[in-house]
Symmetry: C2
Subunit: 201 residues, 2 copies
């Protein structure tokens, strides 16, 4: 089965460099990361990095692609299970939110947004791998269940996925948990109440 993006194959030393780069870039951002720091974190010399990756941009790009593909490859595979829409959608939402509310995931999202103008190809890769894949999966499911009565499955899919993404941004990045708490369960309950109103007898 062909994938949207294919992951490059890396040698163990390259993986060590990438892992060090992940730790530093995700914590300090692009501008706040020095190649010396990456070298120290990866346990290699700086020249070794330059011999495997073209320059700082090349290392950053490789690391971000690596993370995006690794983290989301297969994320949506388990969602084709049978079952009642209410159960399936609740489980999908809970799994998706659980993946999103994660230190590394949030740092990756923040960095993708931060550098989306300087690295548009990275932003597009992320758009295809995460956002488009999620939205397409959900809208395909909605299309297969016309009894749900959605006139525009893609727009509904965006609302479903997008309110979870914005939840993470509001609560985790903009410190909403301190200012205006809102539990994941409350979000999921209200989402399902909107999408699956109780059937009329």
């Amino acid at each position: 089965m062909p994938r949207i993006s294919s992951a490059p194959v890396y040698t163990p030393k390259q993986v060590a460099i990438l892992d060090g780069a992940v730790r530093v870039f995700l914590r300090s951002g692009y501008g706040g990361t020095s190649m010396d720091r990456v070298a120290a974190e990866a346990g290699v010399s700086k020249q070794t990095i330059y011999s495997h990756f073209q320059d700082k941009d090349g290392l950053f790009t490789a690391m971000m692609e690596h993370m995006t593909i690794r983290r989301f490859d297969g994320l949506f595979d388990a969602a084709h299970l049978p079952g009642e829409p209410a159960d399936l959608m609740r489980q999908f939402a809970a799994t998706f939110l659980h993946k999103l509310v994660d230190r590394d995931y949030i740092a990756l999202l923040r960095l993708m947004i931060a550098e989306s103008e300087r690295f548009p190809e990275l932003a597009k890769l992320y758009g295809r791998t995460v956002i488009q894949q999620g939205r397409t999966l959900v809208s395909t499911y909605f299309r297969a269940h016309p009894e749900l009565g959605f006139a525009d499955p893609e727009a509904i899919a965006h609302i479903f996925v997008g309110s979870m993404v914005s939840y993470v941004i509001a609560q985790e990045i903009f410190y909403g948990n301190e200012l205006m708490p809102l539990s994941r369960d409350r979000l999921i309950d209200s989402l399902l109440a909107l999408l699956l109103p109780p059937a009329q007898p």
Copy 2:
């Protein structure tokens, strides 16, 4: 009427510096901005900037606060109009989306997210001024209209506001407009269809 945040008063020269800082920071980010560039853009010398603002961090903080307060002060004031919920909510959504889909607004949002870890007080200011204010306004409206039948008005308010915020992020920052077009009208139509299902006779 007291406001959540009070805007500092700046002299004309300080405003000129801040305006130059806005242009450079929003375009190039924090790390990509040099004080020399800001000085050139503002038409003053670098030392003049340092005499008015403590250092690069201080200038950045002042500029971001300035933008946040200027841009959103009064944004939500006109939303207390009477009218049918369907009309009012459609107009609110259209106005809100129109404000959000704007070059400067998107650049500010991107920069806030990018620097939210290094400048947590800025992120909290943004959370209070934009996100919390929007969510509170909408949930207050929902509470005043119990006939809408929302069990958890705050969660519904998040879904309403959050799907618009994530729409901007997906379509404008992650190049969704090229990969998976979705017009504002389709989003608003589906949002209102979910929130305001046709009344049963």
